[in-house]
């Protein structure tokens, strides 16, 4: 039951994008298409689960004063694994994500979970927390990139949805569109979340 709560926290109550507003840089940059958003989300899930598990296992033997460098080493290891894996098996996605894939190393979400959760909790709970937070991030990215791709490029997963005469609103795939859509989604998500919270009481 407690593990399920940790999992649900990551997706809904403490959603890293919609509630905590961390890890914004990659969120705004890579969500121009659904495939990019999904790939980025899954890469973060993999890194977050791995780093949370290892940091949690090492938490008793890591000296407090050098914990940040230790986190960096652990996270960088997993990012490198994911990056090499994608370079080998998913070349187009790897090229589309570009610099934002190695930049997962400095993603706030991963550091925040290492510092706030994995360093204080056991390995199983940390693994579940990594999964929940990663899926929360993926959920946000896929939602954001779906809206942006459908209305900004007129396609979904690269498949054109509308006829030739449809002229998509180009602003949505440009940087300002990311801010506008993200702002509206955060608003909707939090209204829905609060409504649910009050109805539960």
């Amino acid at each position: 039951m407690k593990l399920f709560k940790i999992f649900k926290n990551g997706i809904i109550n403490d959603n890293p994008i919609f509630v905590q507003l961390i890890g914004m840089c990659s969120t705004l940059a890579v969500t121009t298409s659904v495939s990019n958003g999904l790939a980025m989300g899954l890469a973060v899930v993999a890194v977050l689960m791995g780093s949370n598990l290892v940091i949690s296992l090492l938490r008793n033997s890591t000296p407090e004063k050098i914990r940040i460098p230790a986190f960096v080493i652990v996270i960088a290891t997993f990012v490198t694994i994911v990056e090499m894996f994608m370079k080998a098996y998913a070349q187009p996605i790897y090229q589309a994500l570009g610099i934002f894939l190695p930049l997962i190393v400095v993603n706030c979400i991963i550091f925040a979970r290492a510092e706030a959760f994995a360093f204080k909790n056991g390995p199983v709970a940390s693994l579940i927390d990594g999964l929940g937070m990663g899926l929360g991030y993926t959920l946000a990215l896929v939602t954001l990139s779906t809206v942006r791709e459908i209305f900004g490029a007129g396609s979904f997963f690269g498949i054109p949805l509308f006829g030739e005469s449809f002229q998509p609103a180009g602003i949505l795939v440009m940087p300002p569109g990311a801010f506008i859509v993200l702002g509206i989604l955060i608003g909707i998500f939090n209204v829905a979340r609060r409504k649910k919270a009050t109805s539960e009481i």
Partner: protein, 336 residues
Amino acid sequence: MEGKVLNTTKAESAVPDMLIVSSSPHIRSNESVERIMIDVVIALIPAMIGAVYFFGLNALKLILVSAASAVAFEALIQKMLKKEITIKDYSALITGILVAFNLPANAPWWIPVFGSGFAIIVVKQLFGGIGSNFMNPALAARAVLLASWPNIMSTYVLPGADAVTGATPLAIMKFGGVDGTASATVAQAGSNLPSILDMFVGNIGGAIGETSAVLLLLGAAYLIFRKVINWRTPVVYLGAAAIFLAIFGVPADEIIYHILGGGLILGAFFMATDYATGPITSMGRIVFGIGAGFLTALIRVKGGFPEGVSYSILLMNVVSPLIEKFSAPKIFGRAK
């Protein structure tokens, strides 16, 4: 029932009805949001007639679609957000008209619908509705439309029934020939420019509501006469734009084209004077005008676009709170 009670008190106390005891304010003006907005609509009517006269029925269609969709979106979003529906204050109507004024005459019908929707829903209502928007809704809509559909938004038609596409005077000055070839010399560009009388009357290419300087000034004079807008922002804006254009090396005889062409008159009198998005202090309004004039001149001369009024007003909208903070008058009797 109520009348009966009133009668008894009247008979007993003998106090006249006029003597009402209440807290201040005691003197009320009959100004209201509706009154001000109706004045702005009246001031926009000459330019609307001009738009239809110069650009034909498609301009009328764009204005009607834009105004109707702005009012409809306002009612819809306020109903969705469970707010009081305030379409009767005419502010959405004005936003709709101003969105249409920024469009080229051959724009398809869905352009004003999207523009009005963005202006009303995202820029106005999501930030708290009338008086709470941080930038001018109509101009923000124009910026979004220009970024989304640059082809539609920058292909202007010349006045007349044939709907021939052609360059605006600003584009001619910036890029040279009518076909946009940058190699044309200044002399050639000058020969392609319309006469100053055409510029003043509005018989030139451009967005439907911005071309006729004389009709816009007529409306602006009415607004200043009615004290709806303050002269400071627009006059300083136009003056600063002229001065900075001269500083950036625009020849003296072309500056008049810069003032009368593009959206400068429309922007200065009808958009920079927006209550919610500009400073309210006199000093602040002057600073706003100078800043907007500088940015307009900078974008027009040094930037990539021939026109910069919308971006300069939007940028000044964003710094307005800062201007207000530093231009607030000293409170009498308070030590510094």
